[in-house]
Amino acid sequence: MDKKLMDMPNFRPNKTPVKKTVGEIVYHVIGIVLSLIFVLPILYMLATSTKGEVAYAESIGTINMFLPDFASSAVAFENYKSVLLDYDIWKYALNSFIYAAVVIVLNILINGLAGYAMAKLTFPGKRLLSFMIIFLIVVPVETSIIPLYSIVKVMLGLKQQMTVIGVILPAAISIFNIFLFMQFFQNIPKEYEEAARMDGASTLGVFFKVIMPLSKPILATVAVFCFIGVWNDYLWPAMILPSADDGSWPLLPIQTALITIKSIESITTGEIMASLVITSIPIFVIYVAAQKYIVQGFGTSGLKM
């Protein structure tokens, strides 16, 4: 611990132990207060998921909004049970997982290859493409969601099974991720590649066997943000995924399904919050696990605009 402290920039060794302990306590108190402000929505979500309609209505506008209702643990259990069993939340969560997995793999492959070509290879036309990358990062993409919708509709003919491709393919390309990969790969020393070349590896071989294993931080960064993006997206899937003939929505991802359920069925606020708690767990687990890599991923890529 002390060894570590010595390495930190703001460490001042000339402090008395008492002063240091007081400083630590003050630091942690401030930290806890700040943290509470930032986890308010989580507290609210968890607390409301334990309440029935009446208890929830009574808690609005009071500090009880953020406190669970311990008096009725049976209600809490009911909320979670009905969400999981009556509304098939797990089915939509599974959809989201599948979409996210496919998008992550495609996104890393497609944008990673492009980033590598831009960072390490010379070819005519490269200057045009690097200009296009900056240009397309600046242009607001939201402005073109209606033409995008028409293109995807024409392209796929909006057949039930084909629309899944319409959810996945547009999410598989990300100019910003090409930019991140490009910056990260530029900082990988040439020697690694040259050594592999000496052993007779091809360019693709170098990419998969040398560059990819060295790029765990940026892979983790891209994967986490792909996952969060797919998991929280509801507008686009709602636009292009039709409901089946019998009125069910077998292909919907989780957030779109929750909003659809909320607008059609008589679901209580407690049940909605219970479903949101369940659907937030994967994101949190993935984020906490990958957090260390995300900081590295941004750091080593240098980030020059």
Partner: protein, 323 residues
Amino acid sequence: MITSTIIIFILFLLAFGGFVAYDLATAKRRKEVYRVKSSATAYLMLLPSVALAFLFILLPILYSLGYAFTDYYLLEPNKINFTFLDNFKDLFREIAEKGMLYNAIKNTATFVIGVVPLQIMLALLLALFVNRPGFGSKIFKVCFFAPVVISLSITAFLWEQILASGEGGLLNSMLSVFGIPPHDWLRDPKTAMPCIILLSAWQGCGYQMLIFLSGLSNIRNDLYEAASLDGANRWHKFWLVTWPGLRSTFVYILITVFIGACRILTQPMLMTGYMSHTVTLSYYMYNSGYTERLVGESSAVALLMTIFIGGITLIQRRAFREK
């Protein structure tokens, strides 16, 4: 649509071919050596991303650019007329008459001016706060990032109830303890935008905190040690070592936060709905294109917005470029 797509695709190929030819012709002067095999590999590696980017990013942008000069109405896709600058005339008239678009511009400007410095400052302070060893700071870091991860629909829902009007809102009932009368935070034109600015900064700053943290981890420790030996205090160290060391991180964050702020849409949409004191440019565009289905007009707004954001971003890049 299919024929026009093919035409655009051919034009795109021609333009790219032109640049390739230009690069080849000037290769000698720029002392660049192009090898056939390595170039072929590069094109092969770029093929999937260029194809997808063309279809799903460039093509929609070009279409939207074209629609800006037509009277495209989404329900009558077969009756598109070329109207040249009519959309822009309408838009400028609406601005001159201080209509909804005028409000949208005003609110977006207010939002950008408010949120960019606030969010960057918060992010930097949080990053400095958690940039130390120990278990506590690790937990704090996870907490500060939480609003970024939680879906915006939940946070908007929560803030709506905190800021709700009358005695029902949490903020109002807390203020009533001090004898302050209840206030309709989201419907009062004076407080609505500041509320949205605050909650957006709160919601987004955890992400920039992470980027600042990675910037901080790149600053060499011996610089701090040297400063300590010269008798620098914390304040000096921040301005002489930390701040210059964060320069490129700061420029990156400034540009991305600025672009994000210009595009603000979800917060006012979820919190207040389409109202004159919180409508933003993106929201106006969304409303005219998606709710009123006037794609032509919506695309014209999009074009103006792109020119504006692109222009300011270029100025920012120029101003902060490393010498």
